[in-house]
Amino acid sequence: GSFGEYGGQYVPEAVMPALQELEDAYERYVLENEDGFMDEFRERLRDFGGRPTPLQRADRLSERYGREIYLKREDLVHGGAHKLNNALGQVLLAKYMGKERIVAETGAGQHGTATAMAAAHLDVPCEIYMGRTDVNRQRPNVYRMRMNGAQVNPVDAGSGTLKEAINETMRDWSTTVETSHYVIGSVVGPHPFPAMVRDFQAVISDEAREQLLESAGRLPDTVIACAGGGSNTMGAFDAFIPDADVDLVAVEAGGSSLEIDEGDGIAPNSATLSTGSDGVLHGAMTKLLQSDDGQIMESHSVSAGLDYAGVGPELSHLVETGRVRPVNVDDETALEAFHRLSTLEGIIPALESSHALGYLERAAGPAAKTSNEQHAQEAAEEGLGDLVVVNVSGRGDKDLETVLEETEARDLAAAPDVEVFDS
């Protein structure tokens, strides 16, 4: 593995040569800036992607939590999430490598739309695999991809979700590996993907570190990011890893419960770092939600983007070595945090990012001051510092319908009246 015992390249033989080719390209172009690759990448991130994104002091959250809260505004990246950082990097790299075609899989559609945008921008043909069920429930993202000129291939197999889309993309790539590049959407998959995606996403923490040093004059005490596959997490943490005093908190989806149903193979959460065990999934050794037998569990989160049974191998390593602290918040806490940021700060966050914000509430919110509350004791032990950076990995426009449904089904303190008007 590339990260302690984690990582590696557990893939079919047919794609191994392509991984070696990619590894070579990664080293030359990304690590050594050959032919000015990284310069062009950074320029396009700026002009096309809208970087740098702000590091905003959140006035009302700061007041609520009695400490300085800064938001890294990845919701303002072109496309509405940090996903473009990686997609743009990989499509550009594919072009430098002389690849003629891009394939990618997408679940909720965020990575697919980012890839389609990047491929249109760089004039590379692009096909996106997406489970039929996801196609039907994420129509706006399907339209966006197709409007960017990407071919969207619905996958009918199985339950028609992310897992089938990954299998189908792997099939395509196994067949077309000589001319195609597979744009993996997170810090997962075989080496060099986890390292490469991290490097493309590291712009988040590179910027945040510099911005905070300029505006606050010092490093943060804590950096909080949500973790599904972990690309925004690694992006938000990377530059701070050498700063040993900066507490790095990865907030996973606690879903509806941390209890798993081994019989049905269902984990009603996506808390891989907190509750998973070591295994191999999608090309890498990492922490997984799996049965005793080694079957991958069906995970759950109210946030589609966190709903994944694996996690990036580097995060597994960083958790194992104690550098990153894994926590998790449940669906309800995330929904509350979604509403809280929307009403207090005028920013509608992605449900993914709402998990990071939910942890903030749990660790430092009003209830955390009530000593007889269980969470409050945890929070006290967790000890958030005085200066906290939260990564707002994306915007929540895509989540409106889900939030409405989930909010109506609950009694949430932070939610405004969202009852649907009569027509």
Binding site: G8, Q9, Y10, V11, P12, E13, A14, V15, M16, P17, A18, Q20, A157, G158, K163, I166, N167, M170, R171, S174, T175, T176, V177, E178, G265, S277, D278, G279, V280, L281, H282, G283, M285, L288, Q290, D292, D293, G294, Q295, I296
Partner: protein, 301 residues
Amino acid sequence: MSDDRDDSSDRPAVDSEIEAAIYENHPALIAYITAGDPSLEDTKAYVEALDRGGADLIELGLPFSEPIAEGPTIQGAINRALAAGTTPAGFFDLVDGLETDAPLLVMTYYNMLLQFGAEADVRPFVERAADAGISGVIVPDLPAEEAEPLCAACDEFGLDVVFIVAPTTEGDRLETIMSRASGFVYVQARLGTTGARADVSSATHDSLERLEGHSDVPKAVGFGVSKGDHAAEIVEAGADGVIVGSALVDIVAAHGSDGDAPAAADLEEKARELKAGAERAAADADATDGEQERTPEPEHP
């Protein structure tokens, strides 16, 4: 039973039951089905049918939830097997009870090997497989670079690790793989995933040529083989064995679970057709090209 069995006395003794089975039954038919599809009881009957039909090696798929190297056919079989509750324990119970002439291999994904014991470690799996009488393992998501732990465990318990060589495998990597290969080399006939195809890929010939002189391990060709004619064509191209999977799984799938007798009969007949195709090609080669030795000649004494 076959022409090649007559040549066996010319060959050096091999440690590997798998190599032996290929040499003895040259050109060999290697048959794959997914264990537990539609049930482990059915699988027992199917394996026995394939054995009767002339399969020289049988690969038993232990189902894994994320079969990234499979095409839709085998993925479907795996989903059915998982839905039927197939577990590694049940799988090994099945194997414990099987008595076939053909040696058995287990084909599964790496995580299934890792998770068999209490810790993430392949050794307990290999040990149990050896106990059950399994002769080798094929792990489609385990390239040679990551295979050290598995090779060590298999060495310890006397199992072969079958590696796949793809059309893209070349140069140093090909050397490495060939040097580690045991049992046979699984020559992937085409890019892509498993699945029955209408024809034999032209890449087959190139791949077999590329492998010439690299190792004395037998070469068997799979990915897309579905008919006796395919088998013949592959053997003509110089393969020592023909691997058939999706075409057999299709037969199982077609019968569903409504009585296994017809499925077993069809499987047996399909095996017979494929084996006959392979043998026809070998016989033709002997007849028209008698002076030229097409069967493998081990380099080591």
